[in-house]
Symmetry: C2
Subunit: 332 residues, 2 copies
């Protein structure tokens, strides 16, 4: 049984927390969002699932929100950041691989011949991935990623990639967490490419990141255990793979999901097909001046079927140009 002291403490604590919540609520949790249907829909959803006694109330542990990364939380043009990483790694490793000078797709990368690289197709990209992402231990790979992300810059904005994250989405992540949500990343990107920096940049810890992966193998090297990254795909966390990954890694169906491309469509379908209040949102890239404008025909982040389904089903579509006061965290 609880002692009187404990009960009094609990009461005092509750009062302090309630007062703190009131103070916090007074401020706009989404200051970089213009007033409009997207912002209103987000706030209305959060209000109804968090209000005790509301018919749509969702207990805190079930408030799972999943976010795509490329194009949803950070920029993905003119190509995925991880692809820039792979190309930089090819250049860094080239001295140890003289044969790459005359082998595709490496030759194309080393000569900056993007046309030949594109012509190498998915097979070419997988070859690049395996050459640059596998063969080392997980600890070694983590260091490679950390070193690269700390200094690599975008070719046209000349900014660190971690400064090309969307300020309004950072606010949305924080708002959801302050409202008792657990926020996850569910991305087609490499799980071990994201985990070294998602906590610092998005406030999403490694154990809440789901992504694509290659297989690893446990080994003892001179008695010391290591995990070696193998040249073999383990899981592709894209399209149909997103609900599969959510089920496998999280084990709960999200009540809210956020994406920007057809690769996120199945995640949004899966999320909204659950019982009770659900929320699905697409970020639509409409701002050619402050960012990029693209959708139905884009090579990276194509949004075509998803845009039609969003309209048909009444999902929230963010018009970046209209809905966001600022785009990048760096602009703030």
């Amino acid at each position: 049984m609880k002692s009187i002291i404990e009960w009094s403490l609990a009461g005092l604590l509750a009062a302090v927390l309630a007062l703190g919540a009131t103070v916090a609520r007074a401020a706009d949790p989404l200051p970089s969002w213009n007033d409009g249907p997207a912002k209103a829909a987000i706030v209305a959803f959060v209000d109804k699932v968090t209000k005790p006694g509301s018919p749509d109330f969702v207990p805190e542990p079930e408030r799972i929100a999943t976010f795509d990364n490329d194009g949803t939380l950070w920029a993905e043009q003119p190509m995925y950041v991880q692809l820039f990483f792979a190309l930089d790694r090819v250049k860094a490793l080239a001295p140890q691989h003289p044969e790459w000078k005359s082998t595709q797709p490496f030759e194309a990368v080393l000569e900056g011949d993007m046309k030949s690289l594109a012509a190498s197709g998915e097979k070419g990209l997988v070859t690049l991935d395996m050459a640059t992402h596998a063969g080392m231990t997980t600890t070694e790979f983590e260091k490679i990623v950390r070193d690269w992300i700390a200094t690599a810059k975008h070719p046209t904005t000349h900014r660190l990639y971690t400064k090309m994250v969307y300020q309004p989405m950072l606010e949305l992540l924080a708002y959801l967490r302050a409202s008792g949500f657990k926020t996850f990343i569910v991305s087609g990107g490499g799980i071990e490419f994201m985990r070294p920096w998602t906590n610092e940049v998005y406030g999403v810890p490694p154990e809440q990141v789901v992504g694509s992966s290659i297989k690893t193998k446990y080994e003892l090297r001179e008695g010391k255990p290591v995990l070696v990254r193998l040249r073999e795909i383990n899981f592709i966390d894209d399209k149909d793979g997103k609900p599969v990954g959510i089920n496998e890694y999280i084990g709960r169906r999200p009540i809210a999901a956020f994406g920007n491309s057809d690769g996120d469509l199945q995640m949004l379908q899966w999320t909204t097909a659950g019982d009770g209040a659900r929320f699905a949102l697409y970020v639509h890239h409409t701002d050619a001046e402050r960012e990029w404008a693209y959708d139905r025909t884009s090579t990276f982040g194509r949004l075509d079927k998803g845009l039609d389904e969003a309209k048909a089903k009444g999902w929230t579509v963010v018009d970046m140009k209209k809905d966001w006061k600022v785009i990048f965290a760096a602009d703030r």
Copy 2:
């Protein structure tokens, strides 16, 4: 900038929390543990990693603890609970499969012929698993597990399996969580067999359960998305698979790991090989009266190499007979 009101609130809150922590600390967090080297080692480890300013201090988000399930958190004799589940499912499904009457290993199960079942080996068990764990949707399987675990009883104790969880380990889980640890299950058992009940029984939510799995496939059935469980193994979370699973699902190396068999050895090796303070514990089944006594030659939960390595490396070994005042949660 924080307002004066917020600062005052924060100060008051900190004072209340500190006072609450002092009150809580006065009580023994592990009342079902006898005083002895195992309990002392646990408490000493928790104290040093949680004490600010200690050279061994670990920030809260990095306090990851992983627990095996079978034989570590609940009983695994005379065989794994999930195997009882599979056998019960064969019996329940038999009317729809008349051919099972004359097909091994089903025939053995239906006739209660454990010798022939054992003779069917791992191949036989996988066949049983696929027949009983696959073919339905994830939602259907979850319901099957929930219904079974709510009523199925152990053949000799006649208790619900969820009452055959170890009271001292429940206290340990709660103690670690109260000390800022995030507790995970990392089990060779099926991830979707565990997730429906681990939160209620252990306080471990679905997203903190790692286990073995079969592949799933995303489908739209009459426009409604489902995940279908396929007859294909996805991942075996045992032995070498445990560090692989920890890296893939959690993405951080634990600072403490708890197991009871050789299947947990690599998890304990991986955990203790990290930098800074680390803790590894084996539960040794030594109590033939209150539970079961087994180790080096047991079919289920064999502890042989692990016991030698624990002694060589100074890992904590729990002597269930000596160290635990009560065994099962039901005995309390």
